[in-house]
Symmetry: C2
Subunit: 358 residues, 2 copies
């Protein structure tokens, strides 16, 4: 079935139309088709497609270029498809409403109605943000066609409650292994209990004090947590291994390598295996189009503590922020919704930035 | 196939014949049949059978009665069936050699060749010692026909390296649960990490000092160990539960209820669930036939630290010991063996006790 999107419908109505084209990660084809058709009708945009990821660019020869990016996939349905409009509370309920088809609707409305923005704009609609990084459309684009992402600044329309969220913290997971020697518990002194040894690892976690560095005026807040622990052989055996898996969320003044070294040093008494890691991103809100953006949008920006695709732009040397109408706290829940007013407000703020200011 | 046992063969040869009738737990039928046929040929014994458990008793009207008991099952084969005789090292290799067909051979030899011992003797050959207690032949006998076990003293011919092992320690397992509150690790201070909380449980285990009480002249040695730990929800979630499973091995001066209370008190800050427990048994070697036995067998007795069926006799008010020719340390290993000399020596010591002394 072909879906036709009316990019001139009001933001909430366009959001509902986007939600009602199912696009669970890996199954974005029909929605990408619909978005592509709608974009190709706009003569002021050059459209390219990579898989189910679409890039649409103005080519006005402006001094500055900015990216407006959003993912078009959602988590699996949870009895919340299609969307439902709640006229009393003026909100739209359904999978992907907040995360993040409301943001995509704002992108599409601006793409359709701003033929001559004050900066060149690159609109990115990408696939597979909700699944493993190897399939992430923005990641693939940054590897296969990074020239399409060249810009001075980027806005990810991820749900941020209409507040500018700057940068993001990095994250790494590491497995720390306490070892011992097996013995029958009837003669436990013949062995060495690895679970008992692991208490020293947990003691470090318990006494750890988080850093809260202020970067470009935004306060970050680190975290270091055991996210898993396992050990044990049998009910009558002194165990010889206990593995503690920790997750370190580090502020963006610390690089990926530095964060890994920090964890290795902190747990120097044990073998440490880094399981995965992703760098953070500094907010970079103090100069250039980012500063203009913050000024135009208004309100005090805050630090993004979770990890987002903002970091991908940072890798490319492009300052980026999250700014979108959805509510991140209810993303991925069966009751996910988005209110109508913030959709209109976000569109208006971005429209002002792209027409009036600077 | 019917197997014929020659109870007048030398101990090591009879051991080999017993090993070569496979009797993995639950499959003792053919061996029980062979033992039953051999026992029923002995006019001085009254034989009764319960499942694959056999009881053979003298009825001489003596003032004292003693039990010689052994299990006839083995753990599953591990490439070590049938038995192999090693003439150079004068040992027999194979599944069940040490644990405990060498002991069963000694029982059978005494049953056949002692028509008029100085004490009445009850020989017990029982099934399913190597599996869960509900199938244990001695347990079933103690519940269904306890009158068959009435005696002043019992010897279990479990492998003890020819040393008298008195009593046994009790054992219990308990699950101790640390709780917390889930949160995303990017905002971990919104939650409470249950794995970090569990460190306090491990600290108690680390600083715990074992009791080593001396009971009837034998020194016991308690143990308290984490045997399992588990916790964790996902790589980016502060976990809300961590369960530490502990195994407490307690000396037999402490009862089952008392041991459970001790553990509940020690970990009073957390919910404690008792998973299972089994009482210990005091050695009771200072008086009566037990004292005579120790004197006849010679050597210094030692405390049994592991849990054995000795505790079942204790439940019935009968002092009991382990004393057998096998080697407990190699039981259940593929290379399990028994040396010929201790088989002969154990038989000789028991024969002396049942003929000469007192």
């Amino acid at each position: 079935m072909d879906h036709d999107l009316d990019l001139y419908a009001e933001g909430p109505a366009l959001t509902a139309a986007l939600v009602d084209v199912s696009s669970v990660s890996g199954e974005e084809g029909p929605l990408a088709d619909a978005i592509e058709r709608a974009l190709r009708r706009l003569p002021h945009l050059r459209v390219t497609r990579h898989g189910n990821t679409l890039v649409a660019r103005t080519g006005l020869g402006k001094q500055e270029r900015v990216v407006l990016a959003g993912h078009i996939d959602t988590v699996p349905h949870a009895g919340n498809f299609p969307s439902q409009w709640d006229p009393e509370r003026v909100r739209l309920t359904g999978v992907g409403t907040s995360d993040m088809k409301a943001g995509v609707a704002v992108q599409l409305r601006l793409a359709a109605t701003l033929p001559e923005p004050n900066r060149d704009v690159t609109y990115v609609f990408y696939e597979c943000e909700e699944v493993d990084v190897a399939r992430n459309g923005l990641f693939l684009l940054s590897r296969n066609a990074p020239e399409l992402l060249i810009a001075d600044f980027a806005v990810l329309l991820e749900p941020s409650g209409g507040v500018v969220e700057g940068g993001c913290q990095g994250t790494l997971r590491a497995a720390i292994t306490a070892t011992g020697a097996r013995a029958h518990t009837a003669r436990s002194w013949m062995g060495k209990n690895a679970i008992h040894e692991a208490a020293a690892i947990l003691d470090i976690l318990r006494s750890w004090e988080p850093r809260k560095p202020v970067i470009d005026g935004l306060e970050y807040h680190e975290g270091l947590n055991a996210v898993a622990i396992s050990g044990g052989v049998a009910g009558n055996v002194v165990p010889d291994e206990c593995v503690v898996t920790v997750n370190y969320r580090f502020a963006p003044d610390r690089g990926e390598e530095e964060a890994q070294s920090y964890i290795r040093d902190l747990f120097a008494a044990w073998p440490v295996e880094i399981l995965d890691s992703a760098p953070g991103a500094k907010p970079g809100l103090t100069a250039g189009p980012a500063a203009d953006f913050v000024k135009a949008v208004g309100g005090g920006p805050r630090a993004k503590l979770g990890w987002t695709d903002v970091a991908r732009f940072a890798e490319l040397g492009i300052p980026a922020v999250n700014y979108g109408p959805g509510i991140s706290e209810i993303a991925h829940t069966p009751g996910e919704y988005v209110e109508a007013a913030p959709i209109v407000a976000a569109e208006q703020a971005l429209r002002t930035w792209l027409t009036v200011s600077s």
